[in-house]
Structures are given as C-alpha cells and as structure tokens.
C-alpha cells in the first residue's frame, strides 16, 4: 500500500505541485476557467503568448473544427508584456499560481526586450514561442531552422537568469535538430509540440474557414505525432520536457510521460471539457495507486521500446 503519492515534479529547478500545465493560448491568464479549476491547482499555467506591444490579432473567423481537432489563427492577440507585468502577473502570483510567461516576437530584439522586462519580475519561467505559425514576419522561420533556434536562444539566454523553456515547432523534418540547438544555446527545458500548420476549405463558398487561410492544428488528432516527437527529443537531449499536443485524458497524459515528458500540458481539449486538468490529475493518481507508483516522476521515460 502506498501511503502518500508524490505528484510534484521539478522542471529546471522550479517545483510544480503536479505535472499538469495548461498550454499557452488556451487558458488566457487563468481567470476564465476558475469555475472549473483555480490556477493554483495546476503545476503551472502558461499564459497567452506575449508581444512587446499590445497586439490586435487576426480578423475572424479564427477557429475551425476538423476531425478530432481544430485549427486556430488567433494571431497572438494580447495586451502586451508591460500590461501583463502590471496586471496579470501580480494577480496570478498572489493567487499562488506557478506562472510561465510565453513570449513571441517578430525579431530577436523583441524576444530580448521581453526577457529583460520579465527577468526583474517574480514570474517563474519564460517560454519562448519560436514556433507560432501565425505571425507572418518570422515565427516559423525562427522555429524551423536549427541555426536560428540556437542564435535566438543564446541571445535570450544572455538577457535572463530565469529558467528558460524553448517551445518547439512540429513543422520540421527533424525535431531533434532544433531540440539539440536549443540545448546547446543554454535552454533549461523544452516544451513541445506547438500546433501543426493546417487548412480547411468550405466547399460551397470555396473560401478557407479561417480568415488567415491557414492555421495551427491541435487537439486529439495530433496526439500520436506529439508522443512520437517527445520520445525522439527525450532520446536526443537531457533537458526536462513539457509534453503537449492532443492530451484529453489521464491515459494520454500518462502515455506522454512514458514517452519522456516530465510534465504535460493540456490545451484545446479544455474547450470541450473544461474540467480536463482536474480529471487528468485524478486519473494519474489512480494509475499510480493501481500500479504501486509512489512518485509521479517514476512514470517519465518509462516506455519499453521494441
């Protein structure tokens, strides 16, 4: 019999009370889902992608349902990093949340500016979104070229002592190349996967559903791709990994951890099941109890490959 389960995980020196994170862009700044779970319930919350100045985002429609998933092209609508530091961050920290600031720029200078601003706050970690496919000016270029990943990660690394997570794009031939580049440049952790570029067309109007024509695909359909990529990255680098992409159930969360994730993030599936983070944690506890696992960290990397 196990007396007490240890659900805590340590990512780059930061203690998460459990391995459940909510993914950037799917949980705003933690206010909206309070009816279902409090931000302090989570291991950590990754807030909506921030830019140096406030950003209006793309014209609607910004979302389309696809089989077992969805496409989005929000276009990084956000109040800007300064407003975040002034309003949202103090509130979240007061509420006891572990906060990951997700930053998304168009230039290396943008990332450095935000890292410097956030470095002097009490934010827990920074997550560099170098893989958002929605910003035409360069989001994709940064995230898909290992040289660029290394360059931008080094530049940001020099600006902050905060634990630095690099969020990897799945829109690449070899994700281990960008993962290694981030590790070489001094990243403290990796998160993956961001969305896969997709498209949906209305055959009556011949118009794409999304006003942006293309958008990022996420949700259950991408789950096997995410598991595969986490597994590959686990075998290529020694950094901690926050695994995400299509996780909707505890079984999937456990699968992702077995593939090598130290923590997991829940995103699009909350739109259908806003209580998913709570249910997933309950399911993980049951799995641990049923299988005599005392520490949740023992699940990580436990896959037995052929």
């Amino acid at each position: 019999m196990i007396k007490e389960l240890d659900l805590s995980v340590k990512i780059a020196g930061v203690e998460f009370k459990n391995p459940i994170v909510t993914a950037s862009g799917t949980c705003g700044f933690g206010e909206e889902y309070k009816e279902f779970y409090h931000p302090s319930f989570l291991g950590a919350i990754a807030v909506k992608g921030l830019t140096p100045a406030p950003k209006a985002g793309n014209p609607p429609p910004r979302i389309a349902e696809v089989p077992s998933g969805m496409l989005n092209s929000i276009g990084l609508q956000n109040p800007g990093v300064d407003k975040f530091i002034e309003v949202e961050l103090p509130r979240l920290k007061n509420e006891g949340a572990t906060v990951i600031a997700n930053i998304a720029g168009s230039t290396v200078e943008d990332y450095c500016y935000m890292a410097e601003r956030l470095d002097v706050t009490n934010v827990d970690m920074l997550e560099m979104n170098i893989s958002c496919p929605n910003v035409k000016e360069g989001g994709v270029a940064f995230g898909t070229d290992p040289k660029m990943v290394e360059e931008i990660t080094s530049a940001v690394r020099a600006k902050t002592t905060k634990p630095l997570i690099v969020k990897l794009s799945p829109n690449v031939t070899d994700i281990t190349a960008t993962a290694r580049a981030a590790e070489r440049a001094g990243a403290d952790a990796l998160s993956l996967i961001n969305t896969l570029l997709g498209m949906k067309i209305d055959i009556k109007t011949r118009r794409p559903i999304l006003h942006n024509n293309v958008g990022g695909m996420s949700g259950e359909a991408v789950f096997p791709i995410a598991v595969r990529m986490v597994w590959q990255v686990r075998n290529a680098v020694s950094l901690p990994i926050i695994g995400m992409g299509g996780i909707a159930t505890a079984d999937q969360a456990i699968e992702m951890m077995l593939a090598g994730a130290d923590a997991i993030a829940v995103g699009a599936c909350m739109f259908k099941n806003p209580s998913a983070p709570v249910e997933i944690l309950e399911g993980i506890k049951k799995y641990m109890t049923d299988n005599g696992i005392e520490k949740v960290t023992q699940i990580t990397g436990g896959v037995i490959p052929w």
């Binding site: 862009g25 799917t26 949980c27 705003g28 206010e31 909206e32 889902y33 009816e35 279902f36 909506k48 209006a56 985002g57 014209p59 609607p60 429609p61 910004r62 979302i63 389309a64 349902e65 696809v66 089989p67 077992s68 998933g69 969805m70 989005n72 929000i74 609508q77 559903i209 949700g219 259950e220 699009a268 909350m270 739109f271 259908k272 099941n273 806003p274 209580s275």
Partner: protein, 260 residues
C-alpha cells in the same frame, strides 16, 4: 459543466429541420438572463468543439433552446430525445438590457430565438415588446405563436411575400421607428440584416443592441477565437479592437460594432 436530462425534443417546422429542445437545469435557469448563450457537446463527428446556442426561454426549472440543423453537431442534437442526456456549460455572456419602454425585436432566421427571452424580460419589466420577424417564406415561419404570447404585436415580413409584408423586415422597422421614435431596437439574425438594422436605427437616433455571431472555441473567454471588431473610447482616445463575443457579448450596443 454538467450533464442534464432532455425532457422534450420536437421538430417545430415542416419545411426546415428546426427543433425545440427542453432540458431540466435549475442551476442554469437560476442564473440566465435574456440573450445569454450555452455551449453544448454534440458528439458524433462534432467531437472537438462545443456548439454555442442561445437560450430561447427559461420555463420554470427548464431551459428551452431552438436550433436549425446546419451540420454534424446540430444533426446529432436533433437525434436526441426525451430521457437522453446533454452536456452543457453556461450560461455565459452579456445579454440584452432589460428595458421597460418600447422595444422593437427584429429577428431573422435562427436569430429569432434569443429574442424570445428578451421579449419575455421586457414584458415582465413593464415594457412594450413588438416583434418584427423576417422569414424567407410562409412555410419557414416558426415560433411566431410564442412571440404572440409575450409581444404586444408581431409583424412578419417574407422575402417572397407569401405572408405579411413582401420584402425585408427593415422596411417594416423603418415604418415602426417613424411611428415610435422613442423605441429601442434589439436585433439578431444574418450579418447583413443586423448591419442594416443597426444603420437604420442609429441614423434615426434609436438605441440599438445587436446579438453577434462568431465561431467559438472555449466559450468562456480564454482563447480569443470568437472576436468581432468594436470601437472604443478610452484615455488614449478612440480606437478599434477585437472583442470576445462569448463573454463581452453576444449582445453589443450597435454604436460599438464595426461591420466592415
């Protein structure tokens, strides 16, 4: 989030697949106000996103919604019957103001349903709701008897003239506003119609509230998928921004909405 039991689901129009679905949900009826939205898991092929549907009416402990079959999700919903369950979150959003004066409720297509709860609320507040409803033809008319129950008057326009006024509902609105210059206007329907009704109302100097429609993700204000363009006046002057329909709307003062 909760699972509720369906009490009734009946087709209410022969010419179109329009259903009226009733489910018992005292926690929703206790909170709901006119024009708010609920979000439903439909299932089947519609398995990733909830579907936003307006509350048509609260009747005691029961919520009534009306919907037209448009795709996979609404088709699933149409197939449910009494005793089946339904997974719903809500109510969410800012609904119609509860006014106690004259209110013209202008609706078209699936946009007429939230106006029923508005009519009921205005009537209960001592106001004078009048419905101006547009349909393509006589066969597609539905729920007009319910409007009759709550409204002082119901006026109908059909595109083909098979019933009531021949033409668009905007024509009868202009006439109504000329006769009732102090009336407010609530509108919900196809985008073009809402834009036209807003324009007419504002030009004549009448207050106007529009219930916007946009594709939604989370439904609770977290994902920023459901935005419409609005104008605001703030400390730094006038500007435009994208505002969430799901929680900052669906009802907006027409003065704020930028149609493009």
């Amino acid at each position: 989030m909760a699972i509720y039991t369906i009490e009734k689901n009946e087709r209410i129009c022969e010419a179109a697949e329009i259903y009226r679905l009733t489910f018992k949900a005292p926690d929703i009826t206790a909170k709901a106000s006119a024009g708010q939205i609920i979000h439903i898991v439909c299932g089947g092929d519609a398995n990733s996103l909830r579907r936003p549907i307006s509350i048509c009416e609260c009747d005691g402990d029961s919520v009534i919604i009306c919907f037209e079959v448009r795709g996979a999700g609404t088709r699933e919903l149409a197939a449910r019957g009494a005793g089946d369950t339904i997974d719903v979150i809500g109510p969410y959003g800012k609904g119609f103001p509860i006014l106690s004066g004259k209110v013209a409720l202008v609706g078209g297509g699936i946009g007429i349903y939230p106006l029923i709860s508005a009519a009921k609320a205005v009537k209960a507040a001592g106001g004078e709701p009048v419905a101006l409803l547009g349909f393509r033809n006589k066969e597609l008319m539905n729920m007009t008897d319910t409007f009759d129950n709550y409204c002082d008057k119901v006026m109908i326009a059909t595109d083909d003239g098979s019933y009531g006024h021949h033409g668009f509902v905007t024509a009868i609105l202009e006439q109504y506003l000329d006769e009732n210059p102090d009336a407010s206007v609530f509108v919900c329907g196809p985008r073009g119609m809402m834009a036209a009704v807003s324009k007419i109302s504002l030009e004549k100097g009448n207050e106007c509230y529009v219930s916007m429609e946009e594709r939604m993700g989370c439904g609770v204000g977290a994902c920023l998928a459901c935005v419409c363009k609005t104008q605001f006046v703030g400390n730094e002057g006038k500007g435009e921004k994208y505002t969430r329909v799901c929680v900052d709307g669906p009802v907006f003062n027409a003065k704020e909405v930028i149609w493009e």
